[in-house]
Amino acid sequence: MKTHPKKRIEIMVEAPLVARVLALLDEQNVSGYTVLPAIAGRGRSGSWHRDGLVGQAGAVVQIFCVVDDSRVDEVLEPLFKLVSRQIGIVCVSDVQVIRPDHF
């Protein structure tokens, strides 16, 4: 099947910040995004585990967003500004999609 190259932006960000990241993605008019749960992790700022927790602090959530190559920079720049002081990481990778018009 014919597939078309796109970019997958993946954002690991602390839970209290999720609403802001999603608002930013909405502003950038990305075609869509998905939020995935995570249960534990470790990074420079220590380790965390969701089990037994009630509050949001100390948790990290994953957001991914498939966008067109041409839009990567537009999205990354404000995103990086938003999360640069926060706990988390941002990765970009290549994916192929079937319906290019969808993104």
Binding site: E14, P16, L17, A19, R20, S45, G46, S47, H49, R50, D51, G52, L53, V54, G55, Q56, A57, G58, R85, Q86, I87
Partner: protein, 318 residues
């Protein structure tokens, strides 16, 4: 006092907390799913709010209620200032980290408050049912003062952040249930008592088991990231808070039980609302300092030693 302390330490509630703490320190894989912890927390908020509101409906509003809430607001706003002074004087924390820690001690821990209420119930000491409203009132002011301290007097809490903080889930359930309890009164309480009154203590035990596990995790993290000066702060700051609380309670004219609860509120440190707010409004403050300190040091101290102490102190001024 000794008797009170022993009876508190040997209550199922505290023993379950110690069980969770020990299991966590022994690195048992024991864990309670996040959803269950949230569900129990929701239940406890709903129950405590509703009972408080129904209590107010039964006994009416008086001057002390209003004064207590004002006292709570003032304490929540002023305790961070005291804490900030102590931290900048006695520890090597940066201005921002000191302000962040200070905000936690001005705000409150609802579970500590619940444990104190339960201890009073067990010893048969009565308290004002509106104390839960005082607890709710004390949650937020400390955050604003903490940010103000961090920014050197220039508050920068945006409107968005403010709404996020003020409308956080647990406050909404607590205050909402209080209102519903007030509206529906003792009649309403009776209709759902089999859910929110009878099993309450048991659920609290299970929740404290969970909190013990979480506190143990905090303690383990804290062993790495906290200086001994900070750990000491995590123990003497609650005592200072409690003293401020007892003074305020006597001015306002609270009963003996109400005084113990006010002391507990002042002595306890937030580990849910404040950390979340600070991650949004003060991301440069290090959570690896404030979370273990509040959760791993002050919380266990209050649950085991603090609460009986505050009850005892309150009983000295009848």
């Amino acid at each position: 006092m000794i008797e009170l302390a022993t009876s508190n330490l040997l209550s199922p509630m505290v023993l379950f907390f110690v069980l969770g703490l020990s299991a966590s320190l022994a690195r048992s894989d024991h864990s309670i799913p996040e959803a269950i912890a949230k569900g129990m927390s929701l239940y406890l908020m709903m129950a405590i709010g509703f009972k408080g509101g129904a209590g107010v409906a039964a006994h009416g509003v008086d001057r002390t209620l209003v004064l207590s809430i004002v006292a709570g607001l003032v304490l929540s706003a002023s305790i961070p200032v005291v804490a900030f002074r102590l931290l900048t004087g006695a520890t090597a924390l940066s201005r921002v980290d000191a302000a962040a820690v200070a905000a936690h001690y001005g705000s409150i821990s609802i579970v500590t408050f619940l444990a104190a209420m339960q201890a009073l119930d067990t010893t048969g000491v009565r308290y004002e049912s509106y104390m839960v409203a005082v607890a709710a009132a004390m949650e937020t002011p400390a955050i604003i003062v903490g940010l103000w301290l961090a920014r050197n007097g220039a508050t920068q809490l945006g409107r968005g952040t403010f709404r996020e903080v003020a409308l956080n889930g647990s406050i909404v359930v607590l205050v909402g249930s209080f209102a519903i309890g007030w509206i529906t009164g003792p009649e309403g309480l009776k209709s759902i008592a089999a859910f929110i009154v009878d099993p309450f203590k048991g659920v609290l035990c299970l929740f404290l088991l969970d909190m013990g596990v979480v506190a143990g995790r905090g303690l383990r993290e804290g062993r790495r990231s906290l200086s001994s000066g900070l750990i000491a702060f995590g123990i003497y700051m609650p005592l200072i808070g409690a003293c401020l609380g007892i003074a305020a309670a006597r001015i306002v004219g609270l009963s003996q039980g109400g005084t113990a609860l006010m002391m507990t509120l002042c002595a306890s440190a937030s580990y849910i609302a404040v950390p979340a707010a600070l991650r949004l409004a003060l991301p440069e403050a290090k959570p690896s300092i404030y979370l273990p300190l509040s959760l791993g040091v002050t919380f266990p101290f209050n649950i085991t030693i603090g609460i009986p102490l505050y009850i005892y102190m309150a009983s000295l001024f009848p």
